[in-house]
């Protein structure tokens, strides 16, 4: 992909990234299994959030279909896991989600704003309820068993998907596709008038974001071992990435990563110690962020940096 000069600065040195990656890659060797499992869950949220932000970040179309794409991957894994090797199952999970997203994307050509949001939610819920009805009435058994995979493998697969999703985010951002998507998000009609094929670009980006969600779903299913429509297509998988991305801030690549990491970790702690409080806390965090931190943690970091350079200039 080609490079486009962008107006925001990149401030994460390559060396730091490399060290972090090595750290994450070798963690299973010197850390408790419980932590590996925790990290896997956090990666799941990060992947869904980062993927969500690939499309919804620049275009400002809030998609609530994440549960559909994730769930499709989960079910692909459950259905195919017994007969196909793991890498194929994961690729398949991603691919089916990709196709579903293409289909949904082409359907929603004319829907914008609120209509798009409720439509994507409606589709997710329709899939969930239809599958539930199908299992209850046609096949007779609700839910399925999934082939078990050891937690270290699951961790590494998640890590790989995470790196890929982050890489794609970076590449798109710096490419002309990224500029086109941001133009669409700023003013879609103008974007169309300067030659951007809005429909095609929206749809393909939507599908790319779905691919990673599906892949993540496919591998997560093996962690849960038993899945049913409520687990696979839970509306929380649609709401959480939105919350996490807003909290982290969509202005920079690390925003969704940070937002998802913090909130996923918080959720883990809270659901074990104070299960009756985590929704309350998340709700308060969301409202506080909307009111006072519209650019999320990224905005906070940028303000702090500006304050730092101001202080430097004042002293110079």
């Amino acid at each position: 992909m080609d490079r486009v000069r962008v107006s925001f600065k990149k401030h994460v040195p390559l060396g730091l990234l490399f060290v972090t990656f090595v750290l994450l890659a070798t963690i299973p060797f010197y850390v408790q299994p419980y932590l590996v499992i925790l990290l896997t869950t956090i990666f799941m949220y990060i992947i869904i959030t980062v993927s969500w932000a690939i499309f919804s970040g620049p275009t400002r179309y809030i998609s609530l279909a994440s549960a559909a794409f994730f769930g499709v991957g989960v079910y692909a894994s459950a259905i195919l896991g017994k007969t196909l090797p793991l890498p194929i199952v994961i690729a398949f999970g991603g691919l089916v989600s990709f196709i579903l997203a293409l289909f949904i994307g082409l359907l929603t050509l004319r829907l914008r704003g609120m209509y798009f949001i409720i439509f994507t939610f409606g589709v997710s819920e329709l899939i969930r309820h239809s599958l539930l009805w199908w299992e209850a009435n046609i096949t007779g058994t609700v839910g399925r068993w999934v082939v078990v995979v050891d937690h270290t493998t699951v961790y590494y697969v998640m890590l790989i998907i995470f790196v890929m999703a982050l890489l794609i985010t970076y590449l798109i951002r710096r490419s002309r596709l990224g500029l086109a998507l941001r133009s669409i998000g700023e003013y879609e009609e103008s974007a169309a008038h300067i030659g951007i094929n809005v429909t095609a670009l929206k749809t393909i980006t939507f599908a790319i974001s779905a691919f990673f969600m599906g892949a993540a779903g496919a591998i997560m299913a093996t962690r849960w071992t038993y899945i049913d429509p409520h687990i696979a297509f839970s509306p929380l998988f649609s709401f959480m990435p939105v919350l996490m991305a807003i909290f982290g801030g969509t202005g920079q690549i690390y925003g969704p990563v940070l937002g998802a990491a913090v909130l996923a970790y918080l959720e883990e702690i809270l659901t074990t110690k104070f299960p009756y409080y985590y929704m309350l806390l998340f709700g308060i965090i969301l409202i506080v962020v909307i009111l006072f931190l519209p650019h999320g943690l990224v905005g906070l970091v940028q303000r702090w940096r500006k304050g730092g350079s101001k202080r430097q200039n004042a002293n110079a």
Binding site: R60, I62, L107, R110, L111, G113, M114, Y115, I117, I118, F119, F121, G122, V123, E125, L126, H129, S130, L132, W133, A136, N137, P235, F239, V242, L243, I246, Y276, Y277, Y278, M279, L280, F282, G283, I284, I285, L286, I287, I290, L291, P294
Partner: protein
């Protein structure tokens, strides 16, 4: 055969009455205030649970609770709008940005209210029996509470319709919905009208909650499903049309009743299918602009 039809039709009207109420509430909040209040169902849930508590602890009739819950919800809604959504409106750089941020804020409300309910009432399913004697209408059998619920729903809807068309405040609301800028120029206090509209939306939820609790079992997670149904009815009736929401509610209720007759598990699916088809083919709904 005739009894079956009567069963379905009256059953549909009963559900429709509730659907109309909650849809009108949401329509007011969205059509005028431009807030898609995804926590609407949580207000309904609060109304339902308050009624349950008042009945099981103090023996207060749900019909009396209705008169209490409605206004209380109105006040809560009004205050929330003033404190939260009005502030957001001032801070947003465009209508689109406000729509997004208010939707997200209402998500936050959903989480908070549902959690509060979980803390107060725990996660169990609750119910109580009130006016559950059977009434026979030409062969179709209904419990009295359902018929009373229908009666109240219709009366409230009618009263509200008269309010909107005959009173000064009602006309101000309709003016603000049509053309906020002009309305403001004509002397309508837009900020107060918007807050009142949001409060009225909560009022409808406050009325619907007790009625629902009379007929069904309730649990703290019940809210979202009602919010979705309200959204579907509003889209069906047409965004911005109160009449549309009223009529749409009854239409959806009837459809639900018909589908339930054949397979209860399919009713929600039927709603979603209708919803998606509407958005694809005629997003403006029946009466929308």
């Amino acid at each position: 055969m005739f009894v079956a039809i009567l069963d379905v039709v009256i059953g549909g009207l009963i559900m429709g009455g509730i659907y109309s109420l909650i849809a009108v509430g949401l329509s007011l909040q969205y059509g005028v205030g431009r807030v898609l209040n995804i926590s609407h169902g949580e207000f309904i849930m609060l109304g339902a649970f308050s009624t349950w508590s008042l009945y099981t602890i103090f023996g207060i009739s749900p019909l009396v609770s209705l008169v209490i819950c409605g206004p209380v919800m109105f006040i809560i809604g009004f205050l929330i709008h003033r404190a939260l959504f009005q502030y957001l409106r001032g801070k947003s750089e465009s209508i689109g940005a406000f729509a997004d941020s208010s939707l997200l804020a209402s998500f936050g409300l959903l989480f908070i209210i549902q959690n509060v309910a979980l803390l107060l009432w725990k996660a169990d399913i609750r119910g109580y029996s009130y006016l559950d004697s059977s009434v026979n209408i030409l062969g179709a059998i209904f419990t009295a509470n359902r018929l009373v619920a229908l009666l109240f729903a219709v009366v409230i809807s009618l009263a509200f319709y008269i309010f909107l068309t005959r009173t000064r405040l009602g006309k101000a609301i309709r003016a603000a919905a049509e053309d906020p800028a002009t309305a403001q120029v004509m002397g309508v206090n837009i900020h107060r009208v918007l807050a009142i509209c949001f409060g009225l939306g909560a009022l409808m939820a406050g009325f619907a909650g007790p009625l629902i609790s009379m007929m069904y079992e309730i649990q703290p997670t019940m809210g979202l499903e009602y919010t979705i149904i309200a959204i579907i009815v509003v889209v069906l009736g047409g965004l911005g049309s109160i009449t549309g929401s009223l009529i749409g509610g009854f239409i959806l209720g009837l459809i639900g009743s018909i589908v339930t007759y054949f397979d209860p598990g399919l009713s929600l699916i039927a709603y979603y299918v209708i919803f998606i088809l509407l958005l694809l083919i005629r997003p403006t709904g029946i009466f929308g602009k």
